[in-house]
Symmetry: C2
Subunit: 204 residues, 2 copies
Amino acid sequence: MVHQSAPPVRKSGDQDHILANAARLFRRKGFEKVSLKEIAEACDMLPGSLYYRYHTKEALLVALMRRGVEVVTEEVEGAFASSNDPAEQLRLCINAHLRALVTDSDTVYVLLFEWRALRPEAREEIVALRDQYESFWTDIIETMIKQGVIQKNIDGRLLRLIGLGALNWVATWFDPNGEYALDAVGDLVWRVIMDGVIDNRLRA
Amino acid sequence: MVHQSAPPVRKSGDQDHILANAARLFRRKGFEKVSLKEIAEACDMLPGSLYYRYHTKEALLVALMRRGVEVVTEEVEGAFASSNDPAEQLRLCINAHLRALVTDSDTVYVLLFEWRALRPEAREEIVALRDQYESFWTDIIETMIKQGVIQKNIDGRLLRLIGLGALNWVATWFDPNGEYALDAVGDLVWRVIMDGVIDNRLRA
DNA sequence: GTCTATACTCTGATAGAC
DNA sequence: GTCTATCAGAGTATAGAC
């Protein structure tokens, strides 16, 4: 239960600046426990000024979560493009997801852990974006099944849910200064999955 | 992101009654979004009466989390005792953890997802209880390693973190009325882990 | 675009009657 | 042990000056 985060951003002015500060606070304390006064202070502003950009606290959270989907999607798609071997692509994507979630940005963490704070309408939008991101993983897994790298009798959707779950939970305990390297965590997840679902005909 | 829960408890009087209602509300809306008025109403009481039992909102949460550790520990220890085969014990414990978390009680869910709401002192106590529960899993895994069922070169602690993570995240998406049976989820996790870490000398 | 000042609501919590 | 009544504080949000 150790949490680390980027240091306060105090550049000034632009929206990224506000979102980055809000994300850092939301991650550490949870959405409901962070007041707009607190966010404004972190941005060297006053609450009134914040309302010029985001008319409600929820609108700020939604903007932040949209950014979160962008961040993790870019990271994972970039990793995917850097190899042609299906198994290696999976390994790279697993580590990219972990990086985006745990070290790169607080927005992805907030995206995954604060969806309960959204009202139904906003939640619908964010869940749709998240589903879009997760369909990327479904594609990877289904392709591996079609190519015979993963056994045909494995439920790809269930495997994706379980695999991403294992990765997402890492954000609750990982300590950048702890005994494990982030890649070591991702590599073990990858290894367990690969050896667990690999087609036996391919086994040495 | 579908959440189901036991129906409101309206027996009356005892502390379990209060904890069960609070747990249900905390699970659905999150600790911070639930007011004491709301909890009192669910118990057919008024806020003033609630304060007779729990002098602070946090004290209520702590009592609930202590109960959560009891619930999941009993469930998993019972599962462990019902077999002598290490691999089967692991499978049974995985499914017991899932049951306790997803269907049996809301207290385990709250225990795992609302720890950020605790102040440092209370958090320390609950984390210690949780560590105690998780050491049970470490024991299972280390025993399997000693017995040669799991490869010697696997980091047992990391495997435990990843495995429990996969299980815990199930609570965020599992729908009791959905397409998957809970045991099917647990069995796939078990299968992936077993095939992923089993000692190759034992492989058929 | 940002600041000042403030309205209004809700919350956790308390005191004391019954 | 539960109810009534209420407080003090914090929270989101708004209006209008600069």
